[in-house]
């Protein structure tokens, strides 16, 4: 080893006059040689918890504070009032909070869709899992909308024919969950077979195109809703579900949703 040092030695022997420096130089060369030869010998890894046992960096905290306060002020400004506490577990096949969310999507998205296309939205389908919190009795703020819908999912309208609508209805009858719907009325019998399905009060028409509003997550097959992908056209509204909720809260000073007969099982 240390071929490099040998070269140095020859070099030094030819050029050196100060023999007392010989040793020092040798070491100097030896060390610089080492520097170039540094090799990875050991790796040690640890995962460190970031928790309340750690000190808070006060400079960072002070920097965040004005941003936080501005957000809080905005998020906590009162938009509306909820007459009760509503949860997505309040009903088997339809719930007050789910009905409210699907109706709010219809009310807020339909004028935009109609303005853009000339058509009306025929029905709305969201998913039960997309209701991310309860709606508590009392003041409703923007924060409420962020809690109900923290995700950035946007409203899309999908043009479907009867076969896809049938698949959608069968999906709902099999899922046996209170997936939020609006303008669709679905009645199941004791065995969860479909007794009646109506959109805006009419039977499903094989000659009609249905404009179904949902969100981009479900459109892309979320919650196994595979029936959206065979469609005539897709309309992206660039309108977030959360923004629609906020707009609806602003328009209504009291929110008083009810469970109704839109999705029922009849014994």
């Amino acid at each position: 080893m240390h071929k490099g040092s040998k070269v140095e030695l020859n070099f030094i022997v030819f050029n050196m006059r100060f023999t007392h420096l010989f040793f020092l130089l040798y070491i100097g060369v030896f060390f610089s040689c080492k520097q170039s030869h540094l090799q990875l010998t050991k790796i040690e890894a640890k995962r460190i918890d970031v928790n309340d046992s750690l000190l808070v960096d006060s400079k960072i905290e002070a920097f965040i504070n004005p941003f936080r306060e501005r957000i809080n002020k905005d998020l906590d400004s009162v938009l509306s009032y909820s007459v009760g506490t509503f949860s997505k577990t309040d009903g088997a096949l339809n719930t007050a909070i789910g009905n409210y969310m699907a109706d709010a999507v219809y009310d807020e998205a339909n004028p935009i869709f109609k303005n853009r296309t000339g058509y009306d939205i025929d029905m709305v389908l969201l998913n039960h899992g997309g209701i991310r919190s309860i709606l508590s009795k009392g003041n409703i703020t923007k924060r409420t909308a962020f809690e109900l819908m923290p995700f950035e999912n946007s409203i899309v309208v999908v043009a479907l024919q009867k076969p896809q609508i049938d698949s959608l209805i069968i999906y709902l009858s099999k899922a046996k969950r209170a997936h939020p719907i609006s303008k669709l009325k679905l009645t199941l019998d004791n065995d969860f077979e479909i007794l009646e399905a109506k959109i805006k009060g009419n039977d499903i028409n094989p000659n009609k195109t249905y404009y179904v509003a949902t969100n981009d997550y479900l459109y892309n097959g979320g919650d196994n809703m595979t029936f959206f992908k065979t469609n005539d056209s897709l309309y992206v509204l660039d309108y977030k579900i959360r923004t629609a909720l906020i707009d609806n809260f602003i328009k209504n000073d009291t929110i008083n949703p009810v469970r109704d007969d839109r999705f029922l099982q009849i014994n």
Partner: protein
């Protein structure tokens, strides 16, 4: 062998310099050992504040002001420390909805992040939204497999960067996930996704063979592993199919690894893949110890995880 010749020549040069200046100075500052500390986060998703005590899953965890003090203490312990993020800095709390990522970048700059790669959610306000926040970032964005040349981000993202700490050359490059099917094309515009394996072969050739880096780190937003999709490239796959990477710092899949995974690369050499979940709940810390040949008793590197 070529490298050995090169080192030999360099050493001769050093000897000459030593002779002419009677260089006791360089004699005293010669480095025998070096320790490089790599700190890392991924998928912080705008989680600036700690989770509250009432939170159902992550009560009292996270918080960037705590992470700041932690990072500072590690930097005090070892000045040869680098701090990286593996993407998805944006999206997840109202801080992003309100400020578009400004605060995230400003705080990461104050924490002195050295580099980050780009995650799919970093396109959530479109490529213009990302571009608009760049002036707030005092750290480097690295992505070798996103070709931004037809976009507004052109020249603002580098494929790799070489850091020099404690006499060690550390080459770092970035990799992003396929955007098609994951991000709306109108958000990423004409960003082109290039094959991560081919790009990694280029990167490691440049960093190892041309630039002679002692340590090569990949910041990846490819995701740790896809059990149900054998075709999809992941960190574990990339690690096994390539060579000369010492560490992949991963993201995207929000995988909480209690310790890094040791993977055999295409040459059968051990390397590490790590990921620390999400939301700034954890900080990854990996120390690389370098030593001179003389002190190396056995061939190879001991990995303590």
């Amino acid at each position: 062998m070529k490298r050995r010749d090169f080192i030999q020549k360099t050493t001769a040069g050093t000897a000459l310099a030593t002779l002419s200046s009677l260089g006791l100075q360089s004699f005293n500052t010669s480095i025998k050992t070096s320790k490089i500390t790599i700190l890392h986060t991924n998928d912080v998703h705008s989680h600036i504040d700690a989770f509250t005590a009432e939170d159902g899953r992550n009560a009292n965890k996270g918080g960037i002001a705590r992470r700041a003090s932690l990072i500072e203490s590690f930097k005090n312990e070892n000045p040869n420390t680098l701090l990286f993020d593996a993407g998805d800095i944006f999206q997840g709390t109202p801080y992003f909805n309100y400020y578009g990522g400004e605060l995230e970048f400003k705080l990461m700059s104050q924490l002195k992040y050295d580099a980050a790669t780009i995650g799919n959610h970093d396109f959530d306000n479109s490529i213009e939204g990302l571009y608009a926040q760049l002036p707030h970032a005092k750290f480097e964005f690295l992505s070798a497999n996103y070709d931004f040349s037809n976009t507004i981000m052109n020249t603002h993202v580098k494929p790799y960067k070489i850091f020099k700490k404690g006499g060690i050359k550390i080459g770092v490059f970035g990799l992003g996930i396929e955007l098609n099917g994951l991000v709306d094309p109108k958000m990423f515009k004409e960003t082109k996704y290039l094959n991560p394996i081919e790009i990694t072969q280029d990167m490691t050739r440049i960093l190892k063979e041309e630039q002679k880096c002692d340590l090569i780190i990949c910041l990846s937003h490819l995701g740790y592993q896809y059990k149900n999709n054998d075709q999809k490239i992941s960190d574990l796959k990339l690690a096994a199919l390539t060579k000369n990477i010492d560490l992949i710092i991963g993201g995207h899949t929000h995988t909480f690894l209690p310790k890094p995974t040791i993977v055999k690369n295409s040459e059968g050499k051990n390397m590490l893949v790590n990921q620390v979940g999400c939301y700034g709940l954890y900080l990854g810390k990996i120390d690389f110890y370098f030593d001179s040949n003389k002190n190396k008793s056995t061939k190879g590197t001991s990995i303590i995880v």
